[in-house]
C-alpha cells in the first residue's frame, strides 16, 4: 500500500513526495509528543507545534503568493512571487494530518506508533489527491488489520461504485465542461441567457466531477477492502442550505464543523456569536479551496446563507407538500449556483460581469446550443444522472442494492451499461478533476 501510494503521488512531480513525508513526520512526532506529555501545557505545546508546522507547509505552497500579491497591491515593497507549482492534494492531506493531531490531543484516539501505518493513513492512494478527508478513528483501525480479506461483497460494491463515479466524471462532468468553458471563457461576448445556462451547468459539472471522484476513490478503496466515509449524499435534493452542507463534501464540512466552528464556540454563546462563527468557518472553508478573493467571497456567501437560515429558523420548517419541497430544492439550487459563479470565475471582475450580464443583458434569443451533439449529450447525461439519483440512490446505498434479491446481477448489468455509455458519450479528451487544484 505504501509503495503504491508513493508511486501514485510521484507520477505528478516526484520530488514533492518529500513535502508529504515532511508533514507526516511533523504530525507523527507531534501526536506522540502529545501522548507522552504528562502536563496539559506540554500537550498543548506539541499540538501547536503540529498545527503551526503543518499549516506552514500549506502556507508556503498555497498562500504565499496570494499574500505577496495583496501586499504589493496595497503599495508595500514590490515583492516577487515564488514560481512554485502547488503539490496536488496538499490541502486534503494536511487537513487529514491536522485532524489526527487534534483528535490525539482531545484524547479521542491514541497516537499511532507505527510510522508505516500512519504514512498509509495520510498517503492512502485512492483518497490522496482529492479526498475524502478521512478521519483517523475510521481509517487507522482498518489499516492496522494487516490480514484483512478482500471479500466478494466488498470487491463487487467497490467495482460497481467505481464505474458509477467514472460515468459521472467522463460522461456528465466532462461534457458539461465543454459548454461551461465555452461560455465562461468568452463571458464578455455571451448574452446573459448563455451565462445562466453555463452557471447551471457548472453547478451540475462540479457535483459530478467531485462526487464522481469520491465515488471512484471510495470504490477503489472498497475493492481493496477499506471502507471510506461517504462524501456526498445527493446534495442538490436538499431543502435548505444547512442540509446542503450536511450532504456536500461531507468530509470537509464535518472537518470545518468539528475543528473550526465548535472551536470558535459553535452556537453556545448567543445568536450574534453563532453568526460570527458560521461566517468565520465558511470564510476559512472558502480560503481552504484556493488562495483567491473569489473563494473567500464564495465562503462568505455560504456563511451568509447559513446565518440567514439560522436567523429565520428555516431548517426547522420541514415541508411535507411536494410543491413546497420542490420550491425549497429550487431555492437551494439557485443560491448555491449563484455562489458557484465566484467559484468558477477566474477573477472578481469576471464574476461581477457575469452576474451583470445575467441580470441586465439576458437576451433569451441569444441562446445557442453551441454544438447540437454536445448539447443533446448533456441533456441525456443529466436525465440519466437525475433518474438514478432520484429513483435509486436517494433511497438505497450500494450496500443495500447489493443485498437485494438479484441485486448483484442488477448492479453488474448497470455497470456494463455505464461502460458503454462511457465509451459512446464520454469525453475522450476530458479535463482534469476540478478539485485536483486544491
Amino acid at each position: 500500500m505504501f509503495f503504491a501510494s508513493c508511486l501514485f503521488y510521484m507520477y505528478f512531480i516526484p520530488v514533492y513526495i518529500l513535502i508529504i513525508f515532511l508533514t507526516i513526520l511533523i504530525d507523527y512526532f507531534a501526536a506522540i509528543g502529545i501522548e507522552n506529555s504528562t502536563s496539559q501545557k506540554g500537550k498543548k505545546r506539541h499540538l501547536v507545534f503540529g498545527i503551526v508546522n503543518t499549516c506552514l507547509v500549506l502556507f508556503i505552497f498555497k498562500y504565499h503568493n496570494f499574500f505577496i500579491d495583496n501586499f504589493n497591491a496595497m503599495g508595500f515593497h514590490q515583492l516577487a512571487n515564488w514560481r512554485i507549482i502547488l503539490p496536488i492534494g496538499l490541502s486534503f492531506h494536511t487537513f487529514q494530518s491536522l485532524s489526527y493531531v487534534i483528535e490525539v490531543y482531545r484524547g479521542n484516539i491514541k497516537a499511532e506508533r507505527s510510522i508505516l501505518t500512519y504514512s498509509n493513513f495520510v498517503m492512502m492512494f485512492p483518497q490522496l489527491v482529492a479526498g475524502p478527508i478521512e478521519r483517523a478513528n475510521n481509517l487507522l483501525p482498518q489499516l492496522k488489520t494487516c490480514d484483512h480479506e478482500i471479500t466478494y461483497k466488498d470487491f463487487s460494491i467497490g467495482f460497481h461504485r467505481f464505474f458509477w463515479g467514472l460515468f459521472k466524471k467522463v460522461v456528465v462532468a466532462d461534457i458539461l465542461s465543454t459548454f461551461v468553458d465555452a461560455t465562461y471563457n468568452n463571458y464578455r461576448l455571451q448574452p446573459g441567457s448563455m451565462l445562466l445556462a453555463g452557471t447551471i451547468f457548472f453547478a451540475i459539472q462540479i457535483y459530478c466531477d467531485f462526487s464522481g471522484y469520491s465515488d471512484m476513490a471510495i470504490g477503489v478503496a472498497r475493492m481493496l477492502g477499506f471502507k471510506f466515509k461517504e462524501n456526498f449524499k445527493i446534495p442538490y435534493f436538499s431543502k435548505d442550505i444547512t442540509e446542503f452542507w450536511r450532504r456536500w463534501h461531507i468530509s470537509l464540512s464535518s472537518w470545518l464543523r468539528d475543528y473550526l466552528y465548535i472551536s470558535f464556540g459553535g452556537s453556545r454563546r448567543g445568536k450574534i456569536l453563532t453568526y460570527r462563527n458560521l461566517m468565520l468557518t465558511m470564510l476559512l472553508g472558502g480560503f481552504w479551496h484556493g488562495a483567491s478573493w473569489n473563494f473567500i467571497i464564495w465562503g462568505v456567501l455560504n456563511g451568509l446563507y447559513l446565518s440567514f437560515e439560522r436567523a429565520i429558523n428555516l431548517p426547522r420548517w420541514r415541508p411535507k407538500n411536494f410543491i413546497v419541497k420542490a420550491i425549497r430544492v429550487g431555492y437551494v439550487f439557485t443560491l448555491i449556483s449563484f455562489s458557484w459563479i465566484f467559484f468558477r470565475a477566474v477573477t472578481f471582475h469576471q464574476a461581477t460581469t457575469i452576474i451583470n450580464r445575467i441580470c441586465f443583458h439576458f437576451k433569451a434569443s441569444g441562446f445557442k446550443f453551441l454544438d447540437i451533439n454536445i448539447f443533446t449529450s448533456i441533456v441525456a447525461g443529466i436525465v440519466i444522472l437525475l433518474g438514478f439519483e432520484y429513483f435509486v440512490f436517494r433511497k438505497y446505498t450500494f450496500d443495500q442494492l447489493f443485498e437485494m434479491k438479484r441485486g448483484d446481477k442488477m448492479l453488474s448489468i448497470f455497470t456494463v451499461l455505464f461502460i458503454f455509455l462511457i465509451i459512446f458519450f464520454g469525453n475522450a479528451n476530458g479535463s482534469q478533476f476540478i478539485y485536483f487544484q486544491f
Binding site: 478482500i150 466478494y152 470487491f155 463487487s156 467495482f159 447540437i372 451533439n373 443533446t376 449529450s377 441525456a380 453488474s412 455497470t415 456494463v416 461502460i419 458503454f420 465509451i423 459512446f424 458519450f425 464520454g426 469525453n427 475522450a428
Partner: protein
C-alpha cells in the same frame, strides 16, 4: 478470490461480446446508411455515390465553401466532387482519407488539394490527433488506415480503440440524426455555398500570425504522404492556396517553404491565391465573404471561375 475472478471474467467477456456485436450491427444497420454530416456520412456518400468522379477536391472548410466543382469546367469537365470538411479537414485528415479511398479502389484521375499554411501547418503536433477521430468509424474498412492510426496514437488511445464502439465516441447522436434524415439527402457535388455577408465589426487580424514560424513535421509528413499516395496510384495532384479576408491567414514564408517542398517532390500544378491582392478587387469587399476565413456563395462563384480560367491558362 475465485468468485471475484469469475465475476471479472464474466463482465470482461460480456463487454467484449456486446462491444463487437453492437459495433457490427450499428455499422451495418445505421452508420453505413448515413449520407450526410461530418461524422462519416459525407465520406459514405462519396464512397457509395461519387466514387466514379474524375476528380476530388480535398481540404478544410475553405475547400468545401470555396471550390464549386461544377464551375471548374477546364478541370476534367467539372466532373468532380468536393470532399472538403469543416471543423477538421487538415492535411493529416486528408492523407488518411486518401489512404481509405485508394484502399477501397477509389482512384480518381486527379486530386485538387486545398492547403493553408496558417494555422494548419503551424499548430502544435500534439493537437493533430483530433484529425484522426473523424475517420475512426472507417478503421475496420482499411488496413492501411488502421495501421497508420495505431502507429500514431499513444497507448491510452490504443487501449480505448480496443473497444470497437469507441470508434463512435462523441458521434453516436449525430450518426443517429444523420441516419434519420438519410432519405432527404439530395444529389450534390459536395460544394456548399454560404449565405449572408461578413459583418466586419470587431474584426482584426490575430496578433500571433507574425509569431508563428515553426512548422509541424507531422503535417509536412502528411502532405508528402498525399504526394506519395497520388504518385503510387497515378493520380494527378493539384494544389490550391485559398484567399482569406485581408490576408488574415497569409504567411508568405510558409507559402514559399511549402511551395518549394512540393515542387521538389514533383508537384508542379500549384495555384497560389493565398494573397488576396492577387485577386480582383471585387473579391476583397466584405460583401463577398461570410467571415474572415470563408467566402460566401457569390464570392465562391467568382473564385471558382478565376481558378477555372487559371487552370485553362496553365494547361
Amino acid at each position: 478470490m475465485k468468485k471475484i475472478l469469475i465475476k471479472l471474467l464474466i463482465i470482461i467477456i460480456s463487454v467484449i461480446v456486446i462491444d463487437r456485436s453492437l459495433t457490427y450491427i450499428f455499422d451495418k444497420v445505421v452508420f453505413s446508411k448515413t449520407m450526410s454530416g461530418e461524422t462519416g456520412g459525407t465520406v459514405n456518400y462519396l464512397i457509395k455515390k461519387k466514387k466514379d468522379k474524375d476528380f476530388l477536391i480535398l481540404g478544410s472548410s475553405r475547400a468545401k465553401y470555396h471550390l464549386d466543382p461544377s464551375l471548374l469546367t477546364n478541370y476534367y469537365n467539372g466532373n468532380g466532387y468536393n470532399a472538403g470538411i469543416s471543423g477538421t479537414g487538415g492535411l493529416i485528415y486528408n492523407d488518411l482519407l486518401l489512404r481509405l479511398l485508394t484502399s477501397k479502389g477509389i482512384k480518381p484521375k486527379a486530386i485538387m488539394l486545398q492547403v493553408d499554411i496558417y494555422p494548419y501547418f503551424t499548430t502544435d503536433d500534439e493537437k493533430t490527433e483530433n484529425e484522426f477521430l473523424q475517420l475512426y468509424p472507417f478503421i475496420g474498412q482499411s488496413d492501411s488506415l488502421r495501421a497508420f492510426i495505431y502507429r500514431n496514437v499513444d497507448y491510452t488511445e490504443k487501449f480505448k480503440l480496443f473497444f470497437h464502439t469507441y470508434r463512435y465516441n462523441g458521434k453516436f447522436l449525430n450518426v443517429i440524426y444523420n441516419y434519420a434524415k438519410r432519405k432527404s439527402v439530395k444529389d450534390n457535388n459536395g460544394f456548399v455555398g454560404l449565405p449572408a455577408k461578413f459583418d466586419t465589426t470587431g474584426f482584426r487580424i490575430k496578433d500571433d500570425l507574425a509569431k508563428k514560424h515553426t512548422f509541424s513535421q507531422a503535417k509536412i509528413n502528411a502532405l508528402l504522404g498525399i504526394v506519395q499516395t497520388c504518385k503510387a496510384n497515378n493520380i494527378k495532384l493539384s494544389i490550391v492556396f485559398s484567399p482569406s479576408y485581408q490576408n488574415s491567414l497569409y504567411l508568405p514564408e510558409g507559402n514559399t517553404m511549402i511551395t518549394t517542398l512540393l515542387r521538389n517532390n514533383g508537384v508542379q500544378d500549384i495555384y497560389d491565391y493565398s494573397q488576396l491582392d492577387s485577386l480582383p478587387s471585387s473579391l476583397q469587399a466584405p460583401s463577398m465573404w461570410k467571415d474572415a476565413l470563408h467566402l460566401n456563395k457569390e464570392g465562391a462563384a467568382i473564385f471558382s471561375t478565376i481558378l477555372n480560367e487559371a487552370i485553362a491558362a496553365h494547361h
